[in-house]
Symmetry: C2
Subunit: 191 residues, 2 copies
Amino acid sequence: MDEASAQVRILDAAERLCQTRGFNGFSFRDLAEIVGIRSASVHYHFPTKADLGKALITRYRRNMETLLEDMERKERTASGRIKRFAGMLREIVRDENRMCLCGILAAESGAISAEMRAELRRFFEYCERWLARQLEAGRDQGEIAFRGAAGVAAAAMLSTLEGAMMTSRLFGSDKPLRDATQWMMAQFAAA
Amino acid sequence: MDEASAQVRILDAAERLCQTRGFNGFSFRDLAEIVGIRSASVHYHFPTKADLGKALITRYRRNMETLLEDMERKERTASGRIKRFAGMLREIVRDENRMCLCGILAAESGAISAEMRAELRRFFEYCERWLARQLEAGRDQGEIAFRGAAGVAAAAMLSTLEGAMMTSRLFGSDKPLRDATQWMMAQFAAA
DNA sequence: GACAACCTATCAACTGATAGATATACTTCT
DNA sequence: AGAAGTATATCTATCAGTTGATAGGTTGTC
């Protein structure tokens, strides 16, 4: 038996399916089949699909927050931390050609609930703030160079990575994402 | 009455709906209702949804090719042409918060047919080649500066723009895309 | 009379969602 | 300790609505 609770296993299955097929690309029955229960039991844990979607994003964001905060302690240089962040995204693409959960949901943002959208925004805002913090720290250390506001650069960075994930997925290779990461790091390299 | 043929009006409606809700976010009946015919008639023009999707991408790509080739004649500087390209994307976001058709389909690429995916790749390859050509022309003129292969820079550029479109859409504002465009142009500005 | 472009009518499959029964485990009371 | 009650998590069965798709009839034009 799987040790994890049904709730967790439902979220795991939903996350993977959403990352590969999009939010409208899987059903409660798909989840039920994977988890090994009936679709009514999935509804017991997440009454509506919007509830499930919201829980999905919240968990994804919290997990990302934990990972990034851990990284802030463990990785010494700012550019190292940013590279590791990009590496996390690369792992997602590598594993079954998945897309960032929030990236695919942002693309589908016209087809999801307002609550899901609000939660999504929080994810992007958090990532941007984190990246901006790394950029500023790197600039203070003379390790990273850039002109203009750190926030704008961080947003552009995130856009580049999310966009490159999409392309990588489409071409079934992590090369576009690797290239984009390298190009981007070069933009921020101190002269 | 609308002058355009039913086929064109179906594609117009499908394009808009796909850009806002994704490929799984609209039905043959949605299209029929907008165009003012019955869903069976939509199937007459496009037997399956994959057929429709493929036609959608092909038309979008051909249209983009025409626009970009025209632009190559009309706009004198390379940076001007690239800015105009970004401006085209901005217009899409501004108009009902739409997303680039091929961007949203790339995000959903796990949920579409192999034929659609192949057609999608052609779109991205074309855009990348076009951007790379502009970058090289700009560098020759001393108007644009960058290190490394033009192809890699062009791919990164396209990723940045597509990613920023996603973010703009999510936040319901074209500011992220505007900021990303400006940041990107600054990266390529000749010193 | 042939063809293109539409129509009506219908299909089986799938969708998200609900009502209500059942089983199991933990409290609480005698 | 044992009975009774309660909460949680699952089940079966079913719903109405939507989906992509098809068969076959109708209309209008060259």
